[in-house]
């Protein structure tokens, strides 16, 4: 079991309120991702749940039990750090065994669990090595192994992939998602990368300046962002925002249209513009266009599209997929 509930949780450092007040529910077995720009308080929130920081006010319930004042070790949670935080003087085996040793487990149990974890994470042949003899991906797996053996109520991941190179990041992303399917344990994952959030999460929590902007499944957030911030943060490439006449025509201060929700034509369309930069990726073509009376617009077209710098093109936004926002940036129904 690993249901986590935050009630009116707040955190201040001195006079600075990093997290004003947050209420949040994470169900047992859920994969929740905290996402937001750097400095939005997502790591602080995770550390509050872990017990590495004390809350200024509010309560943290783990499986219905008030854990607000419990030390980290007694909360039954395991954490994977961005820097891996392996013990450099211990072998991989001893690293993974450490939490069990601290819990006073006997040798036979420790060995069985370490071997099992090493098996799951493909670390069996590295058990005698020191962390410095491992690659970044292997180190991260050791850190995960150390978390697994504790059989925690929930796993906490603090930007675990940001120190890895791009290719490895994609692999580890899949491995962690796979692990979630295998263990079915609650996972809370902090990242600033919305692609990680979209691909891994059951539930995304978008944070800005310590406030929850929106909570929902990846597709809910993609389809119906509650405000302009979420609309801009979720989805890649970023949503286009248009103000002025085009927005007023639709009864809004600002309208938003995703790059993939426009059709491009050489002959006709609602908007006309000039191609600035065309990025041909093979699978997609990204066009950065200057549109008359609208402004800079980014468009995504599937497959090859033979438009190049300086050429003229017509755009037609899909009317059903235009998002409208009021003066406060809140979505209009």
């Amino acid at each position: 079991m690993g249901a986590i509930r935050l009630q009116q949780v707040s955190k201040s450092f001195g006079t600075t309120a990093v997290i004003p007040t947050i209420d949040l529910d994470i169900a047992d077995g859920e994969f929740a991702v905290f996402v937001g720009p750097s400095g939005c308080g997502k790591s602080t929130l995770l550390r509050l749940i872990a017990g590495l920081e004390d809350t200024t006010s509010g309560r943290i319930l783990i499986d219905g039990v008030d854990a607000t004042r419990l030390p980290p070790a007694q909360r039954g949670l395991a954490m994977v750090f961005q820097s891996y935080a392996l013990y450099p003087h211990m072998s991989v085996y001893k690293n993974i065994a450490f939490p069990l040793k601290m819990a006073g487990a006997d040798h036979a149990t420790i060995d069985k669990k370490v071997q099992a974890a090493a098996g799951i994470l493909n670390l069996t042949q590295y058990l005698e090595r020191k962390p410095r003899q491992l690659s970044g991906g292997q180190r991260q797996r050791v850190a995960i192994g150390r978390a697994i053996v504790r059989e925690p109520k929930a796993f906490l991941f603090d930007e675990p992939l940001s120190n890895l190179d791009a290719a490895l990041r994609v692999n580890m992303r899949l491995e962690i998602t796979e692990l979630h399917h295998t263990l079915k344990t609650t996972m809370i994952y902090v990242t600033h990368d919305q692609v990680e959030a979209m691909t891994m999460a059951d539930k995304i929590v978008v944070l800005r300046a310590g406030n929850v902007e929106q909570v929902g499944s990846p597709l809910e957030l993609y389809r119906s962002p509650r405000n302009q911030f979420v609309a801009g943060f979720i989805g890649s490439p970023q949503m286009n925002f248009v103000e002025g006449a085009e927005a007023e025509k639709r009864g809004a201060k600002t309208i938003g249209i995703r790059p993939e929700h426009m059709s491009v034509s050489r002959q006709s369309g609602d908007w006309v513009g000039t191609v600035g930069i065309a990025e041909h990726l093979g699978s997609d073509t990204f066009l950065h266009m200057a549109v008359e009376g609208v402004g800079a617009i980014k468009v995504r077209v599937e497959g090859e599209f033979g438009l190049h710098h300086g050429e003229k093109a017509y755009l037609t936004p899909d009317p059903a997929k235009i998002h409208r926002f009021d003066v406060h940036g809140m979505a209009l129904g």
């Binding site: 872990a50 395991a78 954490m79 013990y87 003087h89 450490f98 504790r150």
Partner: protein
């Protein structure tokens, strides 16, 4: 481009290095050489480079005073004070490095400031306290005093080493269920071994060579080697050869310790300089 090093430059710098090294080592060498001279040869001017070697000074020194008593006192005082110092300083440095408060920096500065005062400034009060408490000329009394004298340096050194250790790793230990004591014992201390070792060595050397307090607070029973040397520059007149023999005997143990631990010492003193 790599810096070009010509052979001439190499020879020049090597020669300079040796010269400098020998100049630093010369007093010790000269003391050791003098200790094997007769008293007459020892004061000869110009100094003699070739002379009749003799061990009579060592025999004389051992017959006049009990070297091993003073040696034992030195070991007890330096090792005892540094070990007690470490026991106090490790948790203190932990707190300052990993759980700093608003005034931690000031506290560190204040601790160091106690080293800025000349010891003679507190001689009278400490002497009176030691007299009233019956601590004069006791090994225990000196261990306590040397612990306090060197504690600021021990804390400072450990603090510097601990600052180099990523806090994440200690937090990981906390998440893994380690109590504070276990966190320090299993994670912090092993990672800081080079730093702790060099702190230990440097402070043993400092305590071993400390002379002001040992001369003022001990007489016969608790006198360490520094006091033992001093007893040879006595009212009877200067006996260079015997004084040198006593000095050689006093510095030999610490020299040997330093020789064997120099790798550790250098590693500790440059710890964290290169990641």
């Amino acid at each position: 481009m790599a810096r070009r090093v010509t052979t001439q430059r190499k020879i020049l710098f090597t020669a300079f290095g040796w010269l400098f090294g020998l100049a630093m080592f010369f007093p010790i060498l000269w003391t050791a050489m003098t200790s094997f001279k007769s008293e007459g040869d020892a004061i000869a001017s110009p100094p003699l480079l070739f002379y009749h070697w003799t061990v009579e000074n060592y025999v004389e020194v051992q017959s006049r005073s009990n070297y091993f008593l003073h040696f034992g006192n030195s070991v007890a005082i330096s090792l005892g004070s540094v070990l007690i110092g470490l026991l106090i300083a490790v948790p203190a440095a932990w707190a300052m490095a990993f759980a700093p408060a608003r005034r931690t920096k000031d506290l560190l500065m204040w601790m160091l400031s106690t080293k800025m005062m000349p010891p003679v400034g507190v001689l009278v009060p400490i002497y009176l306290i030691y007299r009233d408490w019956g601590l004069l000329d006791t090994v225990g009394g000196l261990i306590g005093l040397m612990t306090m004298v060197n504690l600021p340096i021990i804390v400072w050194m450990l603090y510097t080493y601990f600052k180099e250790i990523p806090g994440d790793i200690l937090e990981a230990a906390r998440m893994d269920g380690a109590s504070l004591a276990k966190e320090i014992f299993y994670v912090l201390a092993p990672m800081a071994v080079p730093g702790i070792a060099s702190t230990l060595l440097l402070n043993i050397i400092l305590a071993w060579n400390e002379a002001f307090w040992t001369l003022n607070l001990t007489a016969a029973k608790a006198a360490p080697l520094s006091a033992f040397i001093a007893s040879y520059s006595s009212p009877e007149g200067l006996f260079w050869a015997k004084l040198s023999a006593a000095s050689t005997l006093a510095i030999a143990p610490i020299l040997i310790l330093g020789w064997f631990s120099q790798r550790q010492l250098v590693r500790g003193l440059t710890f964290g300089a290169v990641k």
